[in-house]
Assembly symmetry: C2
Homo-oligomer: 503 residues x 2
């Protein structure tokens, strides 16, 4: 049966919101990639205006009326149908939005836009004190946001739910703790190993133009569609979409380090392949939007690590790498290269961390931001707390705040509750990849032949096409038959790293 007329009105309203949000995404992308230095203040005013307009539409009283009318409709009964998913998610979003005063939404948008600009300067100048007042304002506003939205157990729950719908702080803490308990001895055994990886070959000269050509080719081969996307340069790489056929990824090049741009771009391309795989005819509806940040991250990590750092991937790509970088790689064997890109060692910069230690970076941030939001830690004490945790978990301490507490964009943009989804993504990635292998046969023989389409099509069919029609937990159970577990990631790391490090 066809949905009632109120549903058409609701969809048309959601598509207006999508226009405002996709335009805000362009304003933001442009700010990070193209905006003239002197133009920040007005850009901030533009973004504030659209945040207010989007809030106005998301709290439009007609939404409440439509939802009331539709929630009794037969089509609303199946939450996994397009219509049922739309109604359920609009109701949840509406209930949340009406609790937020327009004043708070606009203040947050303004504080985050300004905060971002101040963070850029503070990081450049290694000047945490410059950033501290902006961060205090953001924390205060996020606390107000959590209080306005409400929560069962702790303020952080209210913020986490925005990025990983339905997830609870206590549950996430538990699974990350289980992960940590298996990870620490693994990393310890690698540190103790006599076997060294020839990581210095990745720090030779890699001309930027050749890096760009190589990574654009590789990202296109795994399935990122450049007819419906583009790649640009920013300090902090990201993926954004501003329309059903306009997904933009960014990277940063370091001519003395191969991995930064190459694996960073595969990562963002993985996000982009997800966005490009969402049903474009449902653009603006929940069923046309990503499931959760954890699932989003699973797609980037899957292509970056499980595919991009595998031996089979490089059986296919290594000859092309040598052609692109003859000066750096012509005396390097595939085995040496493979060991180098899978080098594991505690380090300072999250986005350059290896697959094994990465989650320790996340757990630090997850704990610190909980402490900030729950009022257990002040912004002024944050750099010291950051450095203490790095010492404790990774055994390294940054020389500068720019390489420490100022390294990530997230807090300056008000993204609090976002970090744990990176580790959830790593866990979902391993569990999904394992299921794909069970269903598609030997993926690695396919990769060795340059065949990435079967995996991409499987992800399109099993993950992407559903948008928000399943929660991340439900999707994981539907596909893999089991709830999320740390075992797949740990097995993957043990199997890969044991031969490299003679464990």
């Amino acid at each position: 049966m066809s949905p009632p007329p109120a549903y058409q009105e609701l969809c048309s309203h959601l598509k207006k919101i999508a226009i405002l949000q996709s335009t805000s995404a362009l304003l933001e992308w442009d700010q990070q990639t193209k905006l003239p230095e002197g133009a920040g203040a007005y850009r901030s005013a533009q973004m504030t205006y659209f945040a207010g307009e989007a809030h106005r539409l998301r709290t439009d009283k007609r939404l409440g009326q439509w939802i009331n009318e539709l929630s009794t409709a037969e089509t609303a009964n199946d939450p996994h149908s397009v219509v049922g998913c739309t109604i359920a998610h609009v109701k949840k979003d509406y209930d949340r939005q009406v609790k937020l005063p327009a004043r708070l939404v606009e203040e947050l948008a303004s504080a985050c836009s300004q905060g971002h600009q101040i963070w850029v300067e503070a990081r450049r100048d290694n000047d945490f004190a410059k950033f501290a007042p902006a961060l205090k304002t953001i924390i205060k506003l996020k606390q107000e946001q959590a209080d306005a939205v409400g929560y069962a157990d702790c303020r952080y729950d209210a913020l986490l739910d925005e990025f990983e719908p339905g997830a609870k702080t206590a549950e996430v803490a538990e699974i990350l703790e289980a992960l940590r308990q298996e990870l620490v001895p693994l990393v310890e055994s690698i540190k103790a190993s006599q076997q060294k990886t020839p990581v210095e070959i990745l720090h030779r000269q890699f001309p930027i133009e050749a890096q760009k050509n190589f990574v654009m080719d590789a990202s296109a081969q795994i399935g990122f569609d450049y007819q419906r996307g583009r790649l640009d340069v920013t300090h902090h790489p990201f993926c954004t979409e501003m329309g059903p056929n306009d997904c933009r990824i960014t990277t940063r090049y370091d001519q003395n380090f191969f991995s930064s741009a190459f694996f960073g771009t595969l990562h963002e391309a993985g996000h982009g392949i997800y966005e490009q795989g969402l049903p474009s005819d449902q653009y603006g509806l929940p069923s046309g939007q990503y499931c959760s940040l954890g699932i989003h991250e699973s797609q980037s990590r899957l292509w970056e690590n499980l595919v991009g750092r595998s031996m089979s991937f490089w059986q296919h790509f290594f000859p092309a790498a040598v052609e692109h970088f003859p000066g750096a790689l012509s005396d390097v064997s595939l085995d040496q290269f493979y060991a180098a890109i899978n080098h594991v060692a505690p380090s300072l910069i999250r986005v350059e961390a290896d697959e094994a230690t990465y989650n320790l970076h996340i757990i630090i941030r997850f704990q610190l931001e909980q402490d900030l939001i729950e009022g257990r830690l002040s912004v002024d004490d944050l750099p010291e707390a950051w450095n203490a945790k790095y010492q404790q978990s990774l055994g390294v301490v940054p020389d500068t705040n720019s390489d420490g507490v100022l390294q990530d964009v997230h807090w300056s943009a008000g993204l609090i509750g976002y970090f744990p989804t990176y580790s959830l993504g790593n866990l979902y990635a391993s569990q999904l990849f394992s299921a794909a292998g069970d269903q598609l046969g030997d993926l690695h023989s396919q990769f060795a032949e340059g065949s990435f389409t079967p995996l991409k099509d499987w992800l399109n069919a099993n993950v992407h096409q559903f948008g928000k029609r399943y929660s991340s937990n439900a999707l994981c159970e539907k596909i893999t038959g089991n709830p999320l577990s740390q075992s797949h990631l740990i097995s993957h790391l043990r199997e890969k790293l044991s031969p490299i490090y003679n464990l």
Copy 2:
């Protein structure tokens, strides 16, 4: 005395409109410079939405109430004051806007966005028939627009007024005819001259990176502020602003032709210097907006031709040109280079036409678009009419429609009534430049020393700061003491070209 409270409400409303329009400018700039190929349809939907929203605000009934209330206020009496100018222009715009149905505004925005994309393909494929249906739709909608707005003498008046407020078709036709009558014998005498300019030196190898560096330096030296603007590449160069400190210009590079990017960029930088000189605290108000397209074009033409093609400009810049392009210019003298960049000959492409024949290109388009709008010419007959007029006025006929009737972006974007403002710009430029010389002393000795700031400051003070507070005619009389005349342009061309061509 301070303006009444209704004025504050009006200004706040105008600033909302400015946010929508500056965002539309970003959507448009991005479409032309960065948009992925597959993303056109949704971009079109975004632009249509914002055109509708801007129309809604520009026809808000409160505008009529505010204007009624304010038009009796004492501060409204002086149309040259910020307040008086605001009230007068809002009233004119409001009266025009309320006559336009929202349906027509949205259809026009959609037809022009789609028309632009079709034009890109039609031009690429040299396929006028592909573009014809889109152009027919645009012409039909522009006729509807003219009829809805109303006019005294002819439909074209209603369209021209949008670009050159207050100008009348008959008057513009008269002054362009006077110009043509003096121009034709001048061009004839140049064609008859035995003296040849060494134009081939401009077609040597000019590496694109060096062109970019050189023209960015030159445009910065004349006063374009790259802290508040940027330069990108598009097929058809343009200048746009998306905020009081965000003016973006574009160019196209041809490694076998120096003039295209260099003079094209000086031209767009001239537009940009005007935008950057408007009072930024009045952004969104008429007094913070450009006077007319004729005056806008006068600023680009002044820097491109009267400054950029002068001997004194190159006395300063030629040594740097030789350094940037040693392969092309090390055996060239300043005199040869000067003669080459002032080469005059009938040609096919308007944007590459020389200073003397340029206006003949404009007069052809001005006549053809009048004929289309008045229903005297059908779109199907347009290519033939185009070619006939080129044969008649310039003695050349394009081999392909891509080099003929498809060469310009304007009609595909609904810009009809725009072309004559280019020639008005040439006339205003010469008359203003002549007045600047009378007031500032020998400008050319200043240029020869690399001093462009006195002229830029003079333009800031005499032209830019007033925004729309004077009409183009009134501004011309205020500054030069006389109404617009063709004599300054003709004198300038005779004085420059006579020695070069031994006339």
